[in-house]
């Protein structure tokens, strides 16, 4: 089944009448099956709005979002979603939080024991399964949140600045883990960020979004080899992409 995401004339206006705020769009874009696309833009440009509309958690004012051959018109349950503030609940352990995702969906926890152990191991959290979120560092919490968001094996991932609150070093580390995971399983990823480097390092395409009301200014194909490790990041090609993107934002007076 295809997991292509197609935005056609997607627009979001909050409120009505003279107080209405035109937050986003109209936007047309296609995210192909298995692509990693970053939505890159300044704060308040409506990146998160677009993501919520893709998840069906926010209604579109105009236009349509399609995933595969379905039109999104309600919460999409076969996607994995992550926010800047994680959705780990403090009354459950790391394992319990992963199980929460299954329980909420009515999936038998017993049938997924092996999967839970495997996904915990893949993010190096196997020794922390029985800890509570408040016993973990910020980086470990986001790893746990990642397991929670992915345990039901979605083919589409919507990541809304999941690394936004982490320190620079932890961020680098989790970025490269995320990249390995994407290379292995090739889900379709929509990744919201305001870090130019992060977008270019991870993505096959970077959608540059203008300040409010957000529109997709340009979609830049990032033609660099994976895995994009330090060698790639030091290359003149990488710098050229960074420079090109910075120029766009300088044109807007954002930076």
């Amino acid at each position: 089944m295809s997991n292509q995401i197609k935005f056609s004339g997607v627009k979001k206006v909050f409120g009505r009448g003279p107080d209405a705020v035109h937050a986003f769009g109209p936007v047309d874009m296609v995210v192909e099956d298995g692509e990693f696309v970053s939505l890159l833009g300044p704060s308040g440009c409506g990146k998160s709005t677009l993501m919520l509309m893709t998840a069906g958690l926010l209604d579109v004012t105009e236009g349509t979002v399609q995933i595969g051959d379905r039109t999104v018109n309600g919460p999409q349950t076969d996607i994995g979603i992550m926010f800047q503030d994680n959705t780990l609940v403090p009354w459950r352990t790391v394992r319990g939080n992963i199980e929460l995702q299954l329980e909420m969906r009515g999936i038998s926890v017993a049938s997924k024991r092996a999967e839970i152990d495997a996904i915990l191991a893949s993010v190096h959290l196997e020794d922390f399964a029985d800890r509570h979120p408040y016993e973990l560092s910020g980086g470990m919490q986001q790893r746990a949140a990642f397991c929670q968001a992915m345990i039901h094996a979605p083919n589409t991932m919507l990541l809304d600045e999941p690394l936004g609150k982490l320190d620079a070093m932890t961020r680098e580390r989790i970025r490269s883990d995320l990249q390995s995971l994407w290379m292995e399983q090739r889900p379709t990823v929509l990744f919201v960020t305001h870090s130019i480097e992060e977008a270019i390092q991870l993505s096959s395409k970077v959608a540059v979004i203008t300040p409010r009301p957000g529109r997709i200014e340009r979609v830049i194909d990032i033609d660099l080899p994976y895995p994009r490790d330090y060698e790639v990041k030091r290359s003149p090609e990488f710098s050229a992409y960074v420079h090109e993107t910075q120029e766009i934002f300088r044109g807007y007076g954002v930076i």
Binding site: L57, P75, Q76, V89, W91, M104, R105, R131, H132, L136
Partner: protein, 266 residues
């Protein structure tokens, strides 16, 4: 990484006792000052009695004090439990119903401004000297903090957890029991604890106004008989009653939300 595994240990207890020695010393000093100032300043015993005499005479009157503690305790427990049982579902209903939020909620906020104790004489005149008017006063005193905190509790689920719940496609009941209810418990306990502190106040004042038994009745009668020693004994048992209720609520809190920051910090 944050520290964890804070289980009470003997060494920990010793440390806490050592840290609290100043408080203990102050506490003992206070009662010594009380004991001897009554003698030194030659205060008549019908005005103030030394603690030693309170203990002695209180012990002599223990059967009556225990009887009355049971009476007041019954009023407090019934009124409190009723308040929890009715206020929690109402708070929940108001939190999720726009209609109730526009009708009953402002009404409750208005009544919250009225000192509930002021109704006590009315209830006594309507319902007599028995158990019922006291239970109603305790209920009224406890009901409002529980309802208001419950509304706040059920309305404060984080945006992320709301979106998460919706993204799973779970129904309202599953979302309620797995996410909303546990997330709301800490704020609910703020109301439970506040109500527990005020429950004995309501019972005592209701008894002052009209009753023929109970600790409030006892304190009023012995004070009229110029027996401050027995009044203090009555106050002691009233305090004990309040502490027991508060202790039970705190115990329930520890059992139900051991993960919450307010519990972990202790």
């Amino acid at each position: 990484m944050a520290s964890f595994d804070k289980k009470p240990t003997f060494a920990g207890l010793k440390l806490r006792l050592m840290n609290s020695w100043m408080f203990v010393a102050f506490f003992i000093g206070f009662f010594l000052f009380w004991e001897y100032s009554v003698l030194w300043f030659d205060i008549p015993l019908y005005i103030l009695t030394p603690p030693s005499l309170i203990i002695e005479n209180g012990a002599a009157d223990l059967p009556r004090l225990l009887d009355y503690t049971l009476v007041t305790g019954t009023e407090v427990i019934i009124g409190y439990v009723l308040a929890v049982v009715l206020a929690l579902p109402l708070g929940l209903a108001i939190a999720f119903s726009t209609i109730l939020k526009r009708t009953i909620y402002p009404f409750i906020v208005c009544i919250e401004m009225v000192p509930k104790i002021a109704f006590a004489p009315l209830f006594i005149s309507w319902l007599g000297f028995g158990l019922l008017p006291k239970v109603i006063i305790v209920f009224l005193v406890c009901f409002f903090p529980i309802v208001l905190n419950a509304i706040l509790a059920f309305n404060s689920l984080s945006e992320e957890l709301t979106l998460f719940s919706r993204s799973t496609g779970a129904g309202i009941w599953r979302t309620f029991f797995k996410v909303r209810l546990p997330a709301a418990l800490p704020q609910c306990f703020v109301g439970f604890k506040y109500a527990a502190i005020n429950a004995t106040v309501g019972a005592a004042i209701a008894e002052f106004i009209g009753s023929d038994e109970g600790l409030g009745f006892y304190i009023q009668i012995v004070t009229g008989n110029m027996r401050p020693d027995l009044a203090f004994a009555g106050i002691f048992f009233l305090t004990l009653l309040g502490l027991c209720l508060f202790g039970l609520v705190t115990l329930a809190e520890r059992l139900l939300i051991p993960w919450h920051i307010s519990v972990r910090r202790n």
